[in-house]
């Protein structure tokens, strides 16, 4: 009993201190806000925002509410984070593997890339890609078509828009293909475990993912056409492209700089992971007759991933949080739209900053949970 009490008392004191400190700051803020006649409340979220946003994934204009503006910012943050994470991972893995290449030129180039990009502050890189690279791009009227349909200009990248007919049939065929692949994989594993035979799952999967959607075009009545961007004149020297989809240069510059920067750290995680697998493991795997592909897939990667995943999770979190630097180059992310314009128009600093902090916290925790789940899945399962 006494021992139990001894254990509990320090914890109680800690909790008390935390509560008191938090309480003090809340009380202090309340008194000060009252003295200065500032109201506290979240009612403003349903008011009309009356400002427009450059780029939005959902329908939005100034007649919608501040809450809707918050969603616009949140989705834009998620968009740039997801694209950034995908590109950073692909590039990071390639560079990480390249650093271990026996080819001198390749590994030195990879090493140079890593050292160069990770040692320059990210904000500077964003400014470089936005302002320096932007100035070098042509005006819309001077732009040459890339592959006949893409236009990369100072006002953004214009790509053809997809115009689908019976899009749902196409999507169903895609889902069917994925389900079929999963079923075949499970079946193949069973066959291998019971009979020791290996089925060419990879080739079957490739075949399915192409053939089923192709069938939907041939007999499902699906058709796809493209709307190619066309030049439109606004004034004597002022042009834009109409039709198609336009990706703002802010999005491109931000994704590019985030991906290039974070990829250097991921590359180092990948290199550490591969080098962390003992040489003996590879030799042992080769000695039981596995070919080099199987050595990598069945022996090296499962062990390397355990070393790679936890630090890479950190990099994903960093990338998501770094995306808030968007405010510097006018990409309408959560910080620019909500903690920027909305904060200014309403003056609700405490409310908006607290919501923004909670949002980033939730985003980061979601990524953490997802990666921890994956990490657990690939961890050594002791039997």
């Amino acid at each position: 009993m006494n021992l139990k009490l001894q254990k509990i008392i320090p914890q109680l004191i800690t909790v008390l201190v935390v509560v008191l400190v938090f309480g003090f700051f809340t009380y202090n803020a309340q008194i000060n806000m009252e003295n200065r006649g500032i109201d506290f409340g979240y009612g403003f979220l349903s008011q009309e925002s009356s400002f427009d946003v450059q780029f939005s994934l959902i329908e939005y204009d100034g007649s919608h509410s501040y809450f809707r503006a918050y969603l616009v910012g949140l989705l834009n943050t998620i968009l740039v984070s997801v694209i950034g994470i995908i590109f950073a991972t692909i590039l990071g893995v390639i560079v990480g593997v390249a650093r271990l290449s026996p080819n001198y030129l390749i590994n030195q180039f990879a090493a140079f890339y890593v050292e160069f990009f990770r040692n320059i502050p990210l904000l500077l890189q964003i400014f470089f890609w936005y302002f320096a690279a932007l100035r070098a791009l042509p005006l819309p009227q001077d732009a040459d078509a890339i592959l006949g349909v893409f236009y990369l200009t100072i006002k953004g990248l214009y790509v053809p828009a997809f115009i689908w007919e019976n899009l749902n049939v196409f999507l169903y065929s895609l889902i069917a293909a994925i389900i079929a692949i999963v079923v075949i994989r499970i079946h193949a594993r069973k066959v291998q475990e019971t009979q020791g035979k290996q089925l060419p799952v990879f080739w079957i999967a490739i075949g399915l993912i192409f053939i089923l959607p192709l069938l939907s075009f041939l007999i499902g009545g699906v058709s796809l056409s493209f709307e190619i961007p066309k030049l439109k004149q606004l004034a004597t020297t002022s042009f834009i492209y109409e039709g198609g989809v336009s990706l703002p240069p802010e999005l491109i510059a931000l994704t590019l700089s985030l991906a290039l920067y974070t990829a250097t750290f991921i590359a180092e995680c990948v290199r550490a992971g591969i080098q962390g697998v003992g040489k003996g493991q590879k030799e042992a795997a080769a000695s039981i007759g596995l070919n080099p592909n199987q050595v990598l897939k069945l022996v090296v990667m499962p062990q390397a991933l355990r070393i790679i995943i936890p630090p890479t999770t950190n990099q994903y979190l960093n990338l998501t949080k770094n995306s808030s630097l968007a405010a510097a180059i006018a990409y309408p992310d959560l910080v620019l739209v909500f903690a920027g314009t909305a904060l200014m128009q309403t003056g609700k600093a405490i409310e908006i900053v607290s919501i923004t902090m909670l949002t980033y916290l939730s985003l980061s925790i979601s990524i953490s949970i997802l990666m921890n789940w994956y990490n657990k899945k690939i961890a050594i399962k002791e039997k």
Partner: protein, 346 residues
């Protein structure tokens, strides 16, 4: 009898001392901001991050501009020295929080006076030191000479957190034009992006357009369109809840404007003490007890005029002579066809 007399005189003296002490510091006691400012020895003033003519720092870190002069005037009135000001450069987004949180005591940063800002967020606007309106800048080569030539799909660069963002929406909506807003946090980045060709037009207060134009790589390639699409009365702001401080800032600005009206300049202020006009004499501290109401001495306004100058001098020095807006337009005295009209200092 003699004994009592001695006691009585000391009592009277004590009461007198106590009385003068209380009258002198009543205002200072009522105003926490004034007391703190006098204790610190400098006025804490929030300004822009660099807007020529309004608040701009040179290479040596000396701030100039008509917004800067408002803070200098307050420093001259309260502390006796117009140079005792600590300037804090703020972005449009940070400015109100810096003021309400007590980081600065005056916000003099080309800030538009609107109902919601005045009533909602713990701020009080004390006056107008520049009457402005929102305009548009375009490249001369575009051939656009009026906003009526704007077409669907036009992209407009501007700052976030300003009334500009809201006016822009109202303007394009009323004309039924679809547009692409590109909003940056800092003015320098807006200018850089517009200058690079990212946007077809750059919109903000006309004074801001004129000032920023001087920063562009080739100012002559750009023109400000004639239309004004909004009212933007710009003026200094203080925290709500300190009415004495509010009065000091308001009347420091008013004193500058009234000094111009009566022809009192930094050069002739001292000689105006012998003027025949009682209004002039009041303003240079030769008559009346105007400073006492704020807890200041009687020469507060004289110091403002001598050290900072009247409004006209400030305008000429900062805005006209720098070539930003040589024509005073509405910012001329009411007696000369403008709309500058301040209540009498008496």
């Amino acid at each position: 009898m003699f004994k009592y007399l001695k006691q009585l005189t000391s009592l009277v003296a004590m009461v007198a001392v106590l009385f003068t002490f209380t009258t002198e510091t009543m205002a200072a006691k009522k105003s926490k901001t004034l007391k703190n400012t006098q204790k610190k020895g400098f006025v804490r003033c929030g300004v822009s991050q660099g807007l020529p003519g309004f608040s701009n720092a040179d290479a040596a870190g000396n701030w100039t501009g008509i917004d800067v002069d408002v803070c200098r005037a307050v420093a001259a009135a309260v502390l006796g020295d117009a140079n005792k000001v600590k300037f804090t450069p703020l972005s449009a987004k940070e400015r109100f929080t810096a003021l309400t949180s007590g980081e600065i005591d005056i916000l003099s940063r080309n800030t538009t006076w609107t109902l919601s800002r005045d009533a909602d967020i713990g701020l009080t606007f004390v006056g107008v030191n520049f009457y402005d309106g929102q305009g548009f800048m375009v490249r001369k080569s575009s051939g656009i000479t009026s906003t009526s030539q704007f077409k669907d799909g036009i992209s407009a660069c501007t700052n976030i957190g300003t009334t500009t963002e809201l006016n822009m929406r109202d303007f394009f909506n009323s004309k039924g034009i679809s547009y692409e807003p590109v909003a940056f946090e800092k003015a320098d980045e807006v200018v850089a992006a517009y200058d690079a060709g990212r946007c077809d037009t750059y919109t903000t207060d006309k004074s801001g357009l004129a000032a920023q134009r001087t920063k562009m790589s080739n100012p002559d390639e750009h023109i400000v369109l004639p239309e004004t699409v909004s009212k933007e009365p710009l003026g200094p702001v203080v925290r709500q809840g300190d009415s004495v401080w509010e009065d000091i800032v308001r009347w420091s600005l008013n004193a500058m404007i009234e000094a111009e009206e009566y022809g009192i300049t930094s050069a002739n202020a001292d000689s105006m003490k012998t003027s025949d006009n009682p209004a002039v004499k009041r303003l240079v501290g030769a008559e009346g007890e105007l400073g006492a109401a704020f807890g200041l001495d009687n020469e507060w306004s004289l110091r403002i005029i001598k050290q900072v100058g009247n409004y006209g001098e400030s305008y000429k020095r900062n805005i006209a002579d720098t070539g930003i807006l040589p024509d005073r337009g509405p910012n001329e005295l009411w007696t000369k066809g403008g709309i500058l009209y301040v209540p009498p200092a008496r």
